[in-house]
Subunit: 341 residues, 2 copies
DNA sequence: CTGTTAGCGCGTTCAC
DNA sequence: GTGAACGCGCTAACAG
């Protein structure tokens, strides 16, 4: 008997199901001896009551909101997650937040299908993941409202996303304004495994800033690789070994900027005296290491995403799109004027 | 009509519930016109099918594991969370991970009760939170196995926890071995809001190391406050303004160590030339800032905690306690021999 | 105090 | 193709 029910327990204990239910909910008084009989029966059968049946019977609907993202390793994802959780605790305490990560990029589609099929979700927050039209259709068909926190949905009301092209422009502009001309870019290769163009957009911003300032683009200054600090470290080593190494680097994320700085220092050079570095995101870490960066209000984007989703759940007809504050240049200690020292 | 059912939909569409069910699962063929009728009825009524009923009927049990922690702000919590998630994706893909944070310490008990009462959980991972005997009793009574990742359960099989006293000793010992005698401690005040003695234990390690090395304890070197980088910053300022400031600081967490370093540098002093700093945890951040620390394998502790819980769920009778690797001293660039420069 | 029974909302046979 | 039953496991209201 794989899944014993209260009936099995009742039979084993020689009582009625009502009695079993009572001891389960230790509600009304049950005689100590029958209570004991029931308890032992439960133990021996390994009985565990079905949540579904309980919910159905009591009418207590559990509301679940899923948050799916590639992983929770880079701080930027965690900060968004925190924003979501905060919004939930502020506005809707009766929702569960279920965390999903994509174990493998190839499995993303299957995982999404599983989520939809299980249909256990009332809403879904999709972070930095591409969603095909077919998947959107399945989601809406399954009645699961969703909000996207990525660049694949710009302009849609259920989309929270900064202007990454502009952000890339801002970062590069900052370096150019400081007099740098040999400005390198370190970022994700594109298209990436998750089909999200964030890296490409920031790169575009980089290219167009160079153009705007009349600085010729050099392909060797564009160092693209997988995401993360380690990869950025290696890419930077490559940059440093150029016959004309850059005097400034724009890394498309703070975590990659940290990798750059580590590589620069490992090579015996100083930041910013020898090479300026600017990142992107402004995660907490950046304050600690004094990194100049472009702030994209990550936590708030999670917060707004959750708010939008809750709107979608309560008043689907009438959701006003919520907007992120504009990107901000945050100047700290890793950038300086060319030849200032 | 707040919660329309398939019956309502069927009536509105002038069909039977079976048909509605069919279009819902777009299984067997339904005539396009009736399909349309049903769809519009669904839309107009705002019908959403009950997950509970569906689960009950299909027999698909959803398995949920809860992870509750005070917050997800400090990286140490996130790293444990990541370990849990990884273990889940490795060993049991059919479990959901539901994240709970304690909005207010006072509400901790109520939130736990709500979790138990909703009884939506198959298991619970409790991180850095104190659990009273009464709460444990309620949990077991509700048939919810749980694993504790904190210091309130040392020795129990469902407990994952490092030897924090020893860790505090190790950190302090490192500083003392380097010749420091004016060794300060920066850490959480105790008892803290969440009733967890971690801070107190590390502090005990600090005190006993001093004693072992024959270094008199000075109360003014023990700087206690709320958790976090900002508080550590201020505590350090206080330490620096002493007539005999410390030459070394043991901060009970890496994040607090960062606060110390920021304060030291803001005061125009250098780390480690003027003051050595050692932290505790070895979160990712610490590698980036070159912090000397005591590694407690946070991610792995989340991983082991989840494994233990899964054991508890599958073979309750036969769970072998899982052990964390021993604490490790990780020497980087924020500590040096007294007067070495 | 305790056994019995009627739903909870949906999926799924069955006959039609 | 479609409607009408039954059952999923549990709670609650009702008799006893």
């Amino acid at each position: 008997m794989p899944n014993p029910t209260i009936y099995d327990v009742a039979r084993a204990a020689g009582v009625g199901v009502g009695t079993v239910s009572r001891v389960l909910n230790n509600s009304t008084r049950v005689s100590p001896e029958t209570q004991e009989k029931v308890l032992t029966a439960i133990r021996e059968l390994g009985f565990r009551r079905s949540k579904a049946a309980r919910q159905l019977s009591t009418g207590t609907q559990h509301r679940n909101i899923g948050a799916i993202m590639p992983y929770i390793t880079p701080p930027s994802f965690v900060e968004r997650l925190r924003g979501m959780q905060t919004a939930l605790s502020h506005q809707a305490n009766d929702f569960n937040l279920i965390l999903y990560t994509v174990s493998e990029p190839k499995r993303q589609h299957d995982q999404l299908l599983a989520l939809i099929d299980q249909s256990n979700l009332d809403g879904l927050l999709i972070t930095t993941l591409n969603v095909t039209d077919e998947e959107r259709e399945l989601l809406t068909q399954a009645g699961i409202p969703f909000v996207l926190l990525s660049d694949v949905c710009a302009g849609e009301p259920n989309c929270i996303s900064p202007d990454n092209i502009h952000g890339g422009y801002m970062a590069t502009q900052h370096l150019l304004e400081l007099g740098h001309r040999r400005v390198a870019y370190v970022g994700d290769e594109f298209p990436n495994d998750y089909g999200v163009p964030t890296g490409e957009l920031r790169y575009q911003g980089y290219v167009s800033a160079l153009e705007a300032y009349g600085v010729p683009f050099h392909a060797e200054y564009a160092a693209l690789g997988v995401h993360g600090e380690e990869a950025a470290y290696k890419l930077t080593q490559g940059l440093l070994s150029l016959r004309e190494p850059p005097t400034a680097i724009f890394a498309m994320s703070d975590i990659q900027a940290v990798g750059c700085m580590l590589a620069i220092r490992a090579a015996g050079l100083r930041v910013p005296e020898d090479i300026s570095v600017i990142g992107f995101d402004d995660v907490q870490l950046s304050r600690y290491v004094g990194l100049t960066t472009v702030r994209q209000h990550l936590e708030q984007s999670g917060y707004l995403g959750m708010q939008t989703l809750l709107d979608l759940l309560s008043t689907p007809e009438n959701v006003k799109p919520r907007h992120l504050p504009p990107l901000e240049l945050v100047v700290r200690q890793t950038t300086q004027r060319l030849n200032a020292t």
